[in-house]
Each structure stands twice: as C-alpha cells, then as structure tokens.
C-alpha cells in the first residue's frame, strides 16, 4: 500500500519550488489577465477564464440571466463597448479605454449632455487618496457613473459635460469556470477564487493564476481527495455555483477561498465559521511551521465568498488563506492595486503554503496502533537505535513514539501534530514507516 503518495509528493513540490523561475512564469499570466475588463458577467470574464485554460483544463459554465439561485436572480449580462466623460473644455477626464476602473461597473447605457451639477451624483472618488481611481459597481440598481481621482474631480469646471456610455445590459449568461482534479476517495477540497474584478492585480488576477497553477500541479499526483477549483464572479457566482451544486456540497471535506495572494504583506488565515475544522487546524499548523510572521483570524460574515460557503444553511468547512486581508491595504479596490503591487516571491510563497495545507489534508489520517499495550519493540524491527542511555531520542524516534502513543483510533495525525509540536511531515513519514512494519493500521 503506497500510503499517501500525494502527500509526500506535495511536500517535495513545496520544498522544491524555485521562486526565481516560478515567480516570473506566474507573473506573465498575471500580466496577461490584468488589462481585461472583467465583471460579474460578460466577455471580459469569459476571456479571462479562457486565458486560464493555458494552465489547467478550466471548464466554462454559462448560466442564463433570470435563473433563480436561492434568494437571488442571475442578472443580465453586461458588456462595454466604450465609455467616456468629456469636460466642457474638451478634456476627456474618464475613459474606460484608458483604465477600465473609470466606468462604474454595470453602468447602463447613456449618452447626453449634463451640467456639472447633474453630473455630481454620478462621480466616485477618494478624498483621502486623491491620486487613485476607486473601483465601484452598481450591479443590482440601475445606474451609470464614473470613477476618477479626486485630484481630477476637483478641477472639473462648471459647464456642459458629454457623457458617452456605450454598454449593453441584456439577457445573456453568467460565466464561471471549474476544474476538478479527481481524487481516489469521494471527498473533495474546494478552492474558490473570484474573477469578477477588472484591473485589480492582487485582487484577484494573482489568485486566479495561483489557483490554476495549483490545479496543474496537483493533476499528476493522484491525490486522495478530489480538488475542485472554482473561478466565480464574487457573491452571485458563488451563490450560483452553490445553487447548481447543492446536492454535492456534502462531499466538501475542506475548502479555501483564495484572494489577495501576492501583495507584500504577511499571510493571513481566516477560519471557517466552524472554527476548528481540519482546514482551520491545517492552515494554522502550516503558518506556524513557516517560521514567518502571520495572522490567524476568526470567521466573520464579511469578506469574500466564504460568506456564502459559511452561510448557516451550508456551514461548510471553508476558510480563507490570503496575504493582507480584503480592505486592509491602502491600494485595495483602487487603481493602485496594479502590477507593481504583485510580488512574484510573495505569490510563490502563498502557493507554497497552499501546497503545504494540501499535504496536511492529504496526509491526515487516524491510525490504530496494533501493539497498544506498552511500546512495541522498535529495535528488533530496525526502527530504533541499539545503544541505550543517551538522553535524547532522535527526531524520527520521537515522531514514531508520538504516533504510536496517540494512535488509539481517536486521534488523527493533525491531533498528534498539535499535541507533539513536531513537524507534520515527520509524523506522516513516521506513520508510514510504522504502517510498513505492521505496527499501524488505518483506524
């Protein structure tokens, strides 16, 4: 029985990552995604998912406008041909061709001349960050508007403004992507990432690329769990996915929401609503073992799509592993979340921690000690040093002793790792050695 080959392969993958080659490779994809004008529906979203197909066999799903998904309805599809705001002096002060944040997301078509005063409620800017363009949307209430830097806004004179918004808001479909790396068991690990934001690099071009890369890396490993990667428009996409897969959610044994994975901040894990799910404990182990500063937070019902996965009717064991959390870095949801914010080494580091969490999820088992009364004689099996009297056992022997002691059918390797404070990989390997010697069987 080659136990948990995938866990060992994940460990080696994680240990072998080379940021110097992988970083630039991932960045190339982030750079390609960045300029596309994504929203919760539309061609920019579709193009982005197709781009990810270079990395993994992402399947696109199209859900018609008007489809009821729990308390929501899939909205009309939105596409932008052009959008421009011209000042009385002929200056083009906002143009979606220049920066796709300039247009309020889901702006309805409009063409006309408005006074400075009439324009005012259609403008969005950030007085405290006067050089940045904010990212704003109005998905569920018909509106049009422009987002611009406060510095530009404050120079706008009275007079007549030309508004040219050539968008279509029509029945169509909502698109989401999905790729499943099949597992040898029925259980699944859900990895969900949002793909509805236009040119915001860290939030979430980086996450889309990282997730597709993880899918590519996992595919050859024949993991125990299936790994289901879903690329969904935020909120409505996750809700749509859940509505269409409701009967399948029972298989989700573990899950992570991925976003903001490449900024220079420290890694942060936000626990699932359950708080002590295996994925919560695995992430905490991995971050502690990283030796780097990191954050651990309890669940709150605000953030990304963990809001949906952890709604009380589902309460799935889904946490969120990010770098700086949503809303906590100054560039968040502004034009400053650009390609310079994404650090290749940070992106590779986040990807490594995902692999390490997967290693724990793959390798975590409950074993049963077949020789539970007193210690088995490891020496006669070549598993123990023959000269006694030394004061400290070797790390490998300590790992074996811990695994034997707690393998009573009521403790998983995660339990052993938490209690012993030994590296999970050491315990997993010790368990494999002991199982090889017949001293452990699956509980």
């Amino acid at each position: 029985m080659p136990v948990d080959g995938a866990a060992e392969a994940l460990r080696r993958l994680a240990d072998g990552l080379d940021p110097a080659t992988l970083g630039p490779e991932l960045m190339a994809h982030v750079r390609d995604l960045y300029p596309l004008n994504r929203s919760i529906t539309g061609d920019g979203l579709r193009a982005s998912l197709r781009l990810l197909q270079r990395l993994a066999p992402v399947e696109l799903h199209e859900v018609p406008s008007g489809t009821a998904v729990f308390d929501w309805t899939v909205p009309r599809e939105w596409n932008v041909r052009s959008a421009r705001l011209t000042a009385p002096d002929g200056r083009v002060v906002a143009d979606v061709a220049r920066c796709n944040l300039h247009l309020l997301g889901y702006s309805v078509p409009f063409r006309g001349t408005v006074s400075r005063e009439e324009l005012e409620p259609h403008l969005y800017s950030l007085p405290d960050q006067p050089d940045l363009i904010p990212y704003r949307t109005s998905y569920y209430q018909e509106a049009w508007g422009f987002c611009l830097s406060h510095r530009v806004r404050s120079t706008l004179p009275p007079g007549d403004y030309q508004v040219e918004i050539d968008t279509r808001l029509e029945d169509g479909t909502l698109t989401y992507g999905e790729v499943l790396v099949p597992g040898t068991e029925e259980t699944e690990v859900l990895v969900s990432t949002h793909c509805c934001h236009p040119s915001l690099a860290n939030d979430n071009c980086a996450g889309m690329v990282m997730c597709a890369t993880l899918a590519r890396m996992l595919a050859p490993l024949r993991p125990r769990h299936g790994y289901r990667f879903v690329f969904v428009p935020g909120t409505i996409g996750a809700i749509t996915w859940l509505a269409r897969n409701e009967s399948r959610t029972g298989r989700i044994a573990h899950g992570l929401v991925s976003a903001c994975v490449a900024d220079p901040g420290q890694l942060t894990y936000k626990r699932s609503r359950r708080g002590t799910a295996d994925v919560d404990r695995a992430a905490a182990l991995v971050l502690a073992a990283s030796g780097q500063p990191h954050g651990l937070r309890d669940f709150s019902p605000y953030g990304y799509d963990e809001r949906q996965y952890c709604s009380p009717g589902f309460d799935l064991p889904v946490g969120s592993l990010t770098r700086t959390p949503y809303g906590e870095y100054p560039e968040y949801h502004t034009s400053a979340d650009d390609l310079t914010l994404v650090r290749p080494e940070a992106l590779v580091d986040t990807l490594r921690r995902y692999l390490e969490v997967f290693e724990v999820l793959e390798g975590n088992r409950s074993w049963r000690n077949t020789s539970p009364r007193c210690e088995p004689q490891l020496g006669k099996r070549g598993l123990y040093g023959s000269v006694g009297g030394r004061s400290h056992a070797q790390a490998r022997q300590m790992a074996m002793l811990w695994v034997l002691n707690l393998s009573d059918g009521r403790h998983s390797l995660l339990d052993v790792a938490e209690r012993s404070r030994l590296p999970f990989s050491d315990l997993r390997r010790a368990a494999a050695d002991l199982a090889g010697a017949g001293l452990l069987v699956p509980a």
Copy 2:
C-alpha cells in the same frame, strides 16, 4: 409584532439619563433613609420600606417570629428605645441616639453598673481605624455591647460604668418588601437588595433607593420578563423569601443582588455560581461596552444574598452587580460609610448599567434565518447599500450579516454579540429590521 419594545425603551432610558437631575433626586431619598435604625426586624426596617413606597408600590410582608425557614427560624423582633454607656466621670461615651452603630445589633435589654473590666468583653472597636465606629451584631446569640471608636475606648478609665440598654426582643415579625413589575412572559428577573443595615449609606441605603427607582422606571415599559424586586434583611430575609416562594423559583430566569452601588470605586460584577448564565454574560457585555475600568469575578460563597440564591439546592442564575465589593473599601461596615461616601454620579452610573443589563435580558432571543443558504439579497429589500466595492460595510450592515450568519437556532443574540464584538443594541435592532423583512423568525 412590536418586538422587544421594552429593550428599545430601556436603551433610550439608559442613554437619556441625566446625572445632574437624577443624582440629587436619588440622594434626597438616600438622605432620608440614612438615619433610620434598621435591623433584620423591627420598626426601623418597616419605616425604611414605607419610605421606599414613595418611589414604587413596595408591598410589605410580615413573617412571625418562630417561623421555620429551611434550616433557620425567624428570630424575635428587636426594637430599640434607647441605649447609652456612661463613663465614671459622667461622660456619655456611646449613645444610640447619637449614632445608631453605637449599640451592638440585637443587644438584649440590660441596665446596671459594671466595672471597666466587666465592660471590656462588651466593647467593639477597630485598632487599625481608631477614629471609626464599627458595625457589629449578635443576632443569634444573646448578648449586649457597644461599638465605639478605638480612640475613645482607649481613654476609658477604671471605675463604674452605667449601662442603660432599653431594647425589646420579643415575638413579633420579620418584615420584607416586594414589588413586581409584571412581564408579558412567565419568566422573572429577580433583583434582591438588603435593607437591614442601620446608618451605612453605601451599604445599603443607596441600593434600596436604586432598586425602588428601577422598579418605578420599568413599570410603564411592559417588559417581557417580570421584574421582581425584593428588599430583604440580609441572610435571614433572603432565606425567608426563598422558603415562602420555593415553588416560584423556577420562573427566575435571571437575577442580580444589589449592594454597595454608589461609592466612587469601579463597577464590579460577581458571577453566579453557574458562571456562564445569561445574566453573567449580559453583565460582562455591558461592563465591557461601558468603556470604563471594571472588575469581573467568579462566584464565591461569601458576600451578600447570592450566597442563598446560589446555594446548591437552588443554584439560581443570580449574580451581583456592585461598585467596590463587600469588605474591600476601608469605610465598609464602619461609621465612615456615611453620606459623603455616596456619590450621586456613581449611583446614576450604576443604575444605568442595571438598565443596560435589563436591555440585554429583554432583547436576547434566538432567531432563525429563513433564507439560510447563502446570504439573502438585502439590497432588494432596501437593507443594503447599492454601490459595491467599498472596503467596509456600514455598522448596520455588519450587524445584519452577523445576525443572519449565526441565526441557525443554536445561537442567541448574546452569542452573536460575544462573537462579533458588535454592540448588543445594534444587533438587536438589526434583528428587528430583518424580522420585519421576513428574513428572521423566532427560533
């Protein structure tokens, strides 16, 4: 369904308290109570309860001497006509007419001449606080004595002392007061305060006045719980009340023992024996939200009448909300616990916290989210801002998200408040809005 109108009214009452007018009003009553010579029975006690009838319809109960109350017996009634100790030089060194602490509580009648040496075991003073007169009693063993300052005691020369103690200790009754503000449900909140101490202002004239004022304030609110205020002589009064109301104790859902409510020290909550009763958690929330330094303590079987309410045969969810706890301020049980120790602003502050605890007890419910799979679409119900992309939801939206997420029938609003760290009032109001929109129903 006007849900929890009383909770909202209590919030407004608490927010609207004006120490500048309420403080002097309460102090006037404290000043009237202070000089009366109270004990665990007798006319001073009766007069004090009648004085409280100016504030609330306190009903007086009279329990005959000799009545068996659990392991105890209601004692004979004690009344004092006069008591005086005269020194050999004619100096009156103790006179109950001057300070009613001078006479050992429950002193039996005695008239005679005693030597300095014979007098000695009948004197009580405080060597470490030589200017203060202590408060001492001998309820259950017949004795007579005088309490005086150590400074005076140390000047007492040898010679003949005249003792004139004109008291009556005869069959009569024990008196206690009770007022019930009826609730719309069967459950009751018990508020118990002792009223047996003679001229000790903080302990407990202030508590008696505060409790009667709370009863007056609650009466017009039509609360959900009944609020039962009992004004009892310490220990024997609480035991008597419990003995006469044993069958009714099952209705007591929450309770507080009130004492020492007006000294300048910080607020202190002593948990019930259960330790995690709703009232324990409500008081902790209220004190934390006050933003003031405060104390939280575990139950101990010493203190005031929580000793009886939390005896193992009852184990009622009754804590104690005081300022400085019994025995921990230097003026405790001495003549220095006088009107100068009682601070009007402290008394109003304590009363405010009682109202806030009541708000939590009134507003705490378990709700069930009627749309538990994914978030309901708040926007279409006018409960959510329409422009997306902002990094922080408004406080009201956060309160709604928390309430929706945890309203699975297993969490009360108290649970939500503890986990979210949001103000209880915000959560209560969010729940009312959501219930109004049909998104919550009582669990």
Copy 3:
C-alpha cells in the same frame, strides 16, 4: 466514622518531617546502593532489592529469560565478574572494578588483543563533557564496549590493547521488587521506580530509597487506597510487570513514576497521558501550595516508565513527579551523577510532596450537602462565629462555605480546592467537621 484518618495522618507526617534527621538516614541507604553494579537483570539488581528490604517488605519476583511480555521477550540474565581494558603501555584505562559505568551494559564476554583502530567502535565518551564517563548499554543487540572520559580516550596511543570482559549472558531471570501497603478499598495507587541503573545516584538510588521509605511510612496508616510500590528495571521491567498484572490494572486509580528525586533542581510534575487525571490535578495543587518554583509539563511519550503505563492500550492515570527531569541536568547518565549530586534536603522535600499528593488522593471525596437549600445555620452548631458584621470570614468558615456550596454530588474536594484556591487540608477538615454535624454525607 473516622473519615480519612490516613489523609490527616499524612498531613501530619508531611508537616512533621525533619530534614536534619531524615536526610542523613535516607542518605545512608543511598550510599549503600550506589556502588552496586545493577542492570536490567542480574545479581546487582537482586542485591539492591534485598538492601531495600531493610526499609520495607519488598517481595522479589523472578521472571525466566525467554518469557514473552507483550511485544518483548525477557532477555538473558547478565552478570559481570570483571572487565578491563589495558593500553599498550600497560595502563588500565577502564576497569569495572573502579567504576561500573566503564563497561557498556550487557557487554558480551570477550577476551583478546585488538588494535587501536579495531577498538575505536567499542569506545563511548562525551566530547562536550571530556572529564565524565558516560553510561551506555546495548541490551538488545549483542555488543561489547567501554565507556571512558573523552580526556582519557584522546590519550590512547596506537598499538595493541588487551580486552578482558568476563561476563555471563545466559538464561536466568529478570528480577523485580514489589510491596503493597493494603488499603481499605479496592483502588490502588501505583508508585513505580526503576532500579536498573548502575552507579547513578540521583538516577535512581535516591528514588529507590524514597519509595521504600514511603512504603514504610504508609504501612501503619491503614490508607483507603492500596499503595503498590514496584521496583522495576526500566522499560522491560515495567513491561514485564504490566504483562503479569494486566488483569489488575483496572484497580489502578492513580499512579506516579519516581526518578531523579534528589538533585538540587526544582520539582517537576509531568502529567499523565490523560492530562486531567486526579493525580495530575493533585500534583499541581501540591506544587502550587508548596510556594516553591516548580514545573508542570504535559505528557510526552519519552522519559521513564510512564511511557509504558500511558501506552494507549493501558492509558493509566500515571504521571511522574521528579526534580530535574530526565536528560535535563548536565550530570544525567554520566559518572557525575554521583553521591555529591544527591542533596539530603532535596530528597526529603521530594518525599514530603509525595506524602502531600497521597494526602489529596486519600482525602478526595465527593460529598452531598444534606441542607442544600440556602446555607445551613452553622452558628447554632457552633461552627460559625456569633458576632456578625466583620468583613472577612475566618479561613475555617470560608472552607465550610465552599464545601457546602459545591457539595451537590457533582464536585469532589479536588474540584472545590481548584475553584476556591483554599488549601486542600482546610477543605478536607471542613468537610470532616460538616460530616460530623450531619451536614454532609458521602455522595
């Protein structure tokens, strides 16, 4: 009913210990044990156990070589006549007659001339502690060797070395000792100490003497639990004892592994695998009450024979009370663990803490308050001071109030001690007084 006389007697014994007389008395026995050449079998072990018979009626058990004990087999018996290593220049560089650590434990017979190079893998020394001789064994793999100081080893020139190891490794028996102080109830306290180490004074001549002394002290007390002291060779001895007494282990209600009891370090308690067994809580109470710095550690499956008692098939409530734990003092398993490391006052102090743990184990009961509704009137039974109004109850009264309050059948005196932070002895005595007054009965 003279409740728990043994607990009270243990308290008095502990309080009455006189290090000035007991210390030297214990040291005399340690000094006698020290030079004997013990191993996991053989005549040195036997002689050591017989020497303990001067203190307590230790019964010797002989288990034949080849006996199967769980996953292990009782090894052949090992005895040493002489063992010497002579350098080319005629210098005797190791001689078991000079220091019995010189010979690798369980060395097989060997006589011959070997070159310096051939000798090398047979030598054991400590480069970091160049003046000390290490203690090493090879029980389960046939080998021979010498342990010597690194300083001497580094002076060994090339040339021919005379090896003369006159040992016998033959079928025989493994010896262990046992003494039971019978109890009035079925439950037993297991105290296990290893006796296989040659001249190591703290590890574990001191422990052997302490345990035999405890057995002597307990015998006249008629304790409630039986106290079973086992003197076993490390690992194989404990395994052998468990194999031969498997059906009896259900009686072991509490247990302690004793070792390293006399070095100058602070007391350390290592919890049982269960972590919250009564013995774990009793030891924590005793160490906290000692007022001395001390250590508390969670169980780990490395150390002494708690490894066997706490193996998952037994999971006995057995902790370990030592001074400096195994492997954590520099003299550990070297020739520096000699008679100078053993401090009489430390040995008496450790013994005292064992007596105090036994006091808790003997005195710990669950009581039921016969007057659970309100406090009983202690005053009328002479159990409470008659003058009221004082701010602090006496310690005895506090102990009674705590015991009464928590004696609802669900709390033991250990629970009361932990919650009240009052001395266990005070609570135990308060319970005895209350039981004497009919206010408590066994739960």
